[in-house]
């Protein structure tokens, strides 16, 4: 698994998937995805993931997003202590 860390520089919420640009600066980001398979649990995970990304974005708090080595889909999100 790979980790991408930094501020959430941009967040785009769509009906079928959401996009998060995460990185140290607005011009140095990685585009990661939040998707849901449609199950209730998966939808809850995706919804709370977007809520967490949103809170981190508006409060300028760094996150660590976990995703596959060759996959942009976020499978875990962490906010570490400062």
């Amino acid at each position: 698994m790979a980790e991408t860390s930094g501020l959430v520089q941009k967040l785009s919420v769509g009906q079928s998937f959401s996009c998060a640009w995460i990185g140290p600066t607005p011009t140095n980001t990685e585009l990661l995805l939040v998707t849901s398979s449609g199950s209730a649990a998966d939808a809850a995970f995706a919804g709370s993931l977007v809520d967490t990304l949103s809170a981190a974005l508006t409060n300028y708090r760094a996150v660590v997003a976990v995703h596959g080595d060759h996959d942009a889909k976020i499978t875990a999100l962490r906010i570490d202590p400062v």
């Binding site: 607005p26 649990a41 809850a44 995970f45 709370s48 809170a55 300028y60 400062v82």
Partner: protein, 687 residues
């Protein structure tokens, strides 16, 4: 049932389950690990409840709020989450809020913090006890969980009175009603900072006082480009007997200080100079901006950092020159110049000795693309719609408050600027400061300008290494005493003209060779163009050029503005034409080649500086003029202190050169298309 109370130190949201893991405690380590898991059997309402708990825990973590997390004895599964109650009956001293401000901020810390910018942490406390208390405090600062904390004492003590308890909005409007902490530079670099209160002490007894409703915000400092600006003072003489007026040193100092305090920058890379206004007084800002644009074009041709903004400062001692600027609204363009008045007037609210600071902040704001939001008599041309009523910094005192972090060098104190009393700098209202709207707008423009190349001339190093305006790149090579032409036989010339689009009139004001400059971007459509006339009346294609309209026009005013362009001419060119709406509005015809300059001599000194005289083979003719440049770094960089000069004398002002350092001076005689120069080696302007 057990309750774990503390701050959310770490949060992880895992797809498996899905499961949220939260570490709750008073410090990153040790902290208690708890979890929330969404199960396949959970009903929709249970899923919603668990998601709400997750949401509150995340909000509590990113805002630094303490929580009570309920879970069964012997189990780490979270069953309830609540923010802790603030009970003044139990603990009379309560923490209301912590605000981290650099110029303007709200209690949610919505305005991003600029790394290395002077930063003040304001701590708001309420005392619900009947007896007032005077307290001081200490902050604990950490840049990471394993960093040893830095303990920072407050600058001040504050009196806490029961009658004022529970009203942080009122306290925010008065700098003496918060405990204020100026963060050290070591703790404002790019990245995070965790802030907590180490202690609060009774000033009278010296004893610590327990406080409730603790909060521990974490903030992020964003790397940001500097403000690059050259401030040019314009000197003029009028009256009988003649009196000469120049901006004071205080005018320059206060403007640069104000920009550093109010603008979203940590650094103002600045230089200053003083030049003689070529237009006779009472001139207008259009005259000054034309001269400033010509000065800037020469500086850029000499290797100046292309991202440097130029602003002209004019003393109101002789007359009041209303300010104006060019407005590159849609795309970043640091070549837009502005100018404005300065003097000791208070305007009824500004008592720091000069108003040129905020006035300059307004005009320079235009050069960063800012428009008038349309308050207090100005034309509303900000189409994005200003977000606050009456041009204020905020609609209520509970949202944005301005804060002047002060300047110890100029003895300026920390000052809170009430959001409902102070107005955005781009309005015409009194009490001017930057709103969050303008602050963010200028920050974004600075980021866009930082991506522009520092230099475009041949021989210039690659972009990104431009550095300070006073440490500029070496200019393109010049061959002294020869015509300045490019290898291709073309000479780049800077053309500065004033135009009135309403009357279809225009005047070519400054034409000067600028070897090494790039041809101006040709605009798709413009009512104004330039055309070169060759020998035999053969005319080049037209160069449509951008017109930067005067920023302060009202709907009833003529559409007046500035053209500032670089076009190529060949050795056979005999004129440049200015066309407005297809008609020739003005023509510049160069005179003969400029005279050779024999020498440049210091002919006298006075309290202000050194009087210099140019000796040339013959006096200059009509359409010939001098420009003067100085270098204080051995010729590595040059700054223009005179352009369009018709007299062979000028004054080097002592105040604008580093004391005791040798400077070099060069004079360029030009007919507009060709030039000759002479350099004077090593002159010292010690005071």
């Amino acid at each position: 049932m057990a309750v774990t109370t503390g701050f959310v130190q770490r949060f992880t949201w895992l797809k498996g389950g899905p499961t949220a893991c939260v570490w709750v405690g008073s410090a990153p380590s040790p902290a208690e690990l708890l979890y929330i898991q969404i199960l396949p059997a959970d009903s929709a309402s249970t899923v919603a409840f668990k998601r709400a708990m997750v949401g509150l825990l995340v909000k509590a973590q990113v805002t630094g709020r303490e929580v009570d997390v309920g879970h069964p004895d012997g189990s780490a599964e979270v069953t309830s989450v609540a923010t802790t109650s603030c009970n003044p009956n139990q603990t009379p001293l309560q923490l209301d809020a912590i605000e981290i401000t650099q110029a303007v901020q709200d209690l949610a810390q919505a305005v991003p913090l600029i790394a290395r910018k002077r930063t003040v942490v304001r701590v708001y406390l309420s005392n619900y006890a009947s007896a007032p208390a005077t307290v001081r405090g200490e902050l604990r600062l950490r840049r990471g969980p394993s960093d040893p904390p830095l303990i920072l004492p407050s600058l001040n003590a504050t009196v806490l009175d029961q009658a004022q308890a529970g009203n942080p909005s009122a306290a925010r409007t008065d700098a003496t009603r918060s405990l204020n902490f100026v963060l050290p530079d070591s703790h404002t670099g790019p990245g995070p900072l965790a802030i907590s209160i180490a202690d609060v002490t009774d000033v009278v007894s010296g004893n610590p006082i327990a406080f409730g409703c603790d909060r521990r915000p974490s903030v992020w400092f964003h790397a940001s480009p500097p403000l690059r600006v050259r401030i040019v003072g314009f000197r003029y003489t009028q009256g009988m007997p003649p009196v000469t007026y120049t901006p004071t040193n205080l005018d320059f100092q206060m403007l640069l200080s104000w920009l550093g305090r109010a603008y979203p920058v940590s650094q103002v890379l600045s230089s200053t100079g003083l030049v003689d206004a070529t237009a006779p007084p009472p001139f207008g800002c259009g005259d000054i901006n034309a001269q400033l644009a010509a000065l800037r074009a020469l500086d850029m041709s000499s290797g100046g950092d292309q991202r440097t903004h130029y602003y002209g400062l004019v003393s109101d001692g002789g007359f009041f020159m209303r300010g104006c600027a060019g407005v590159p609204y849609s795309t970043p363009d640091p070549s837009a110049v502005g100018s404005g008045p300065t003097g000791p007037g208070t305007w009824g609210w500004d008592f720091d000795g000069t108003y040129g600071d905020w006035y300059g902040g307004h005009e320079l704001g235009h050069t960063y693309g800012r428009l008038h939001p349309g308050f207090c008599g100005e034309t509303p041309d900000d189409l994005l719609r200003y977000p606050f009523a009456h041009g204020q910094l905020a609609n209520t005192d509970s949202s944005f408050v301005g804060f002047d972090v002060g300047d110890p060098v100029l003895n300026l104190p920390l000052t809170a600027l009430r959001g409902t009393q102070w107005h955005d700098v781009m309005t015409y209202c009194n009490y001017q400061w930057l709103s969050s709207y303008t602050y963010q707008g200028i920050r974004l423009r600075l980021l866009a300008e930082a991506a522009l190349p520092a230099s475009t001339g041949p021989g210039a190093p690659s972009p990104g290494g431009g550095g300070r305006p006073d440490e500029r790149y070496p200019g393109p090579a010049r061959i002294e005493q020869t015509a300045a032409e490019s290898a291709a036989g073309e000479t780049m010339i800077s053309v500065v003209a004033r135009v009135n689009l309403t009357k279809r009139q225009g005047k070519l004001q400054y034409v000067h060779p600028v070897p090494g400059a790039s041809i101006s971007h040709v605009v798709d459509e413009s009512p104004v163009s330039l055309r070169v006339v060759e020998q035999g009346d053969r005319r080049s294609p037209e160069y449509p050029v951008e017109v930067r309209l005067n920023s302060e026009l009202s709907p009833a005013d003529d559409r007046e503005g500035l053209v500032d362009a670089v076009v190529p001419v060949t050795g056979t060119a005999r004129a440049v034409e200015l066309l407005i709406g297809g008609d020739v509005a003005d023509t510049f015809e160069p005179a003969r080649d400029p005279p050779a300059i024999r020498a440049l001599r210091a002919v006298g000194t006075d309290a202000d500086g050194v009087r210099m005289a140019v000796e040339s083979e013959q006096p200059i003719e009509q359409s010939q003029s001098y420009a003067v440049q100085v270098s204080s770094d051995g010729g590595r960089s040059w700054q223009t202190i005179g352009v369009g000069l018709r007299e062979p004398t000028f004054t080097l002002d002592r105040a604008h050169f580093p004391d005791g350092r040798d400077i070099e001076v060069r004079v360029i005689a030009t007919n507009g298309f060709t030039s000759r120069e002479v350099r004077h080696e090593s002159l010292r302007l010690s005071s």
